[in-house]
Symmetry: C2
């Protein structure tokens, strides 16, 4: 399903407002290298490709069929897929259990099972894999920035959350392995996806948005095994009374008690995100594959107030501020200008340039009391420029301690952020995001150690 | 100080790395219309302007002197300002109480008091007023987006926090009245600034970052009176044990107990932000001058999962989901396609276009059970485009109910967000931000009503 050599698009269309047009067009635009078969009984040619009346007409093995036809027709085309020995299907069409038609949903599951076809959906966006350029999403490419190739797989019950998070992943600068939007989870569910992703070597980290779990016991078992191999970040929708009702009419999910889910996630060693923003923040820290050393943090800043707020965030996240050794302090005193207070946070003050950061970071990196570094680089100040962002990227590889950056701002700052992110340095735009992400990293490391 | 006809820049310099260069250059670049006097004993001409050895040489009334010379020289030039009858001063130089030199700080306060000169600072960025184009900030303009003219005044003890927040205000699209970074608050403090902003007609909303308060009793008294006239949003740095220590070495603030501050802020009716992001979110909702109607919210969305998450956020913020009237429900059923579940959140599904939003919003706006509207517009979907953003801007003025938008994403979405923001429609990038902001709006309205 993720690396198909041949794809049939059932419901492909020449009409640009149709989902079947967008899907086919995306395959063409993104340069998919396999064989494409548009299926539509009313057309001979779609977007320059020969069209077929049914998959049964195609004289080729079809690895994946994407079904985008009205719900009522899905059983018929699915049956044809089965007879044509299609190897996997994604049903993007909605109009099943989520609007109360459980019978129609049961019917398509029975067909998929009869032919032993793995089926994702219905009521979903489907799958995306930037490596194989497989992309069943029916979203116009110009509206959606697509993430680069990387190690984060994103499992998402909702289509809309999926598309916005993909857009944000691209902006945040970390790379994607697989995206799977699985909608109603009628047949393939979380448990199947976990089994697949556990063995997928391209997947280093899993982030997920979930509204409900169908097989609780199996989820728990596979979840525990999965997080021993790879970090998992989970955001659960429907955690309040009202949200649970909304989730049911969205993906037919039985939301269950918030506390029960939380307990399961915690016992599985998952990082729990409280909103989309945290899902991205935690995804980013795990994607960096930083090995945390301990909870004693040094903060280096060129802005005092941001240092204060970050200290608050470190405490609120349950981390500690490192006590610099007396040697570090005396060497800092010699090397730093008199306006710099030798303390943690170390405020290099507003005129700090890349050299001052380098001197300070090299010293703190040698201090045994310092286990992780938060570097605040505010690019609005006169001394902070391109050179500083380059220096920090360079220091990240020369320093033997985990290091992340906080940079807050618009225009110029965003350019510097993108540069650092693209060079493997995680950058956060808020003190709380940075501190909480480090705390999750440490929590996960402890969980794994305890479980071994 | 905010509308000076003449400004002296003491420590002005031809050397681009000097603070005194950046300040003078910013005045010139931003097109300040008043008279500028660079002061530097070693130059005759700076940046094309005649330079003076001291303010005493200038034969003009000086409304504001910006002092950017080493700390040790500040008493001397301040004394000269006093003798020259300079009407107000901003001391941007650091090197006073914040590095332990209380004596030097007391000395400059005594001089300012002797001549009855209001003095902001030391150790600050100073003031900015986009209307009068006054700007004492020593930050290169290309690194810092500057906000448009508007009604939000931003009081900030820290320079760095100030500059990053200004940059973000510009990005978030709301307008600025005054920016005042007051550093050590040696003479002019929060109480003075509150008194000034309370009477300033250009200021509709106050947001502030604070590390400590010097005159607690007066702060409490003026704070209560101020928030009866204008909403105040406050972010306090140094709320944890470690943060309080850091705050002291930053602005010499005695941070005091977190609980005590919280209690004072609450009794004053201030909205309390827990981080920079919330400071901006709450600033934005108050800047919109929306009059809240009540706590029953309707959510309209083109993405089911985002509807679920927003419902969770509404509940977590202590708001309620509106129960649509039976008439609304039956009319919606007639007007909406069969794929739309008639419920709150109202999921218009992924192919919703501007017309479907319009129909739904007009109906919900007429429902007496609905008091505020959260419109989720995810621009990654095929039906959501420029027309939708235009339609929402239009509906905002035709509908007689508070309405805010949630749009999440990068590139294309950010363009649409900027368009809506520039047309007076508040847009949030997370469900929690939107719901919490509405809750603060309501809380403030209730506070004012109770106090009248």
């Amino acid at each position: 399903m993720m690396k198909p050599q041949s794809v049939a698009i059932i419901g492909a269309s020449s009409n640009p407002v149709k989902v079947g047009y967008v899907i086919l067009n995306n395959y063409i635009e993104e340069g998919y290298q396999g064989r494409l078969y548009p299926i539509n009984p009313n057309d001979d040619k779609i977007l320059g490709l020969k069209a077929y009346k049914s998959v049964l007409e195609v004289r080729d093995r079809i690895d994946l069929a994407v079904i985008a036809v009205p719900a009522a027709i899905v059983p018929k085309v699915l049956e044809e897929c089965g007879r044509a020995k299609v190897r996997s299907v994604v049903v993007v069409s909605g109009g099943f259990a989520e609007i109360g038609d459980q019978k129609l949903e049961d019917k398509i599951v029975a067909i998929a099972n009869k032919y032993k076809m793995p089926m994702i959906g219905p009521n979903c966006l489907g799958v995306m894999d930037p490596r194989s350029r497989i992309d069943t999403l029916f979203l116009p490419t110009f509206k959606l920035s697509k993430p680069k190739i990387g190690g984060v797989s994103f499992v998402c019950q909702s289509g809309a959350v999926g598309s916005t998070v993909l857009d944000l992943i691209a902006k945040e600068g970390f790379g994607l392995s697989k995206f799977i939007s699985y909608g109603n989870a009628a047949q393939v569910d979380e448990v199947d996806l976990f089994e697949y992703l556990m063995e997928d070597d391209e997947t280093k980290v899993i982030i997920m948005y979930i509204e409900g779990v169908k097989r609780g016991r199996e989820f728990f078992e596979i979840g525990k095994r999965l997080s021993m191999k790879k970090p998992v970040v989970v955001l659960k929708g429907g955690v309040t009374e009202g949200g649970a009702v909304a989730a049911h009419s969205h993906t037919a999910a039985l939301a269950g008690s918030h506390e029960a889910y939380d307990a399961v996630f915690r016992q599985c060693g998952f990082a729990i995100a409280r909103d989309l923003t945290e899902l991205l923040h935690y995804g980013k820290i795990f994607a960096s594959e930083i090995e945390p050393k301990g909870d004693r943090i040094a903060i280096i800043t060129n802005g005092g107030g941001t240092g204060v707020l970050t200290t608050d965030a470190v405490f609120n996240a349950g981390l500690k501020m490192a006590e610099f050794s007396s040697q570090t302090k005396s060497t800092l005193k010699k090397k730093m200008p008199s306006t710099v207070n030798i303390a943690n946070p170390l405020d290099l003050v507003g005129d700090a340039d890349d050299r001052r950061y380098e001197d300070a970071l090299n010293l703190l990196a040698q201090d045994k009391n310092v286990e992780m570094l938060i570097v605040i680089a505010l690019f609005q100040t006169p001394g902070a420029d391109e050179k500083l962002s380059e220096r920090l990227v360079h220091l990240k590889s020369s320093i033997d301690k985990p290091m992340i950056v906080i940079s807050i701002g618009a225009g110029y700052t965003e350019e510097r952020k993108i540069f650092m992110e693209n060079n493997g340095l995680p950058v956060y735009d808020s003190p709380a995001a940075a501190a909480n992400s480090l705390a999750e990293l440490l929590k996960y490391a402890k969980y794994k150690k305890k479980m071994v």
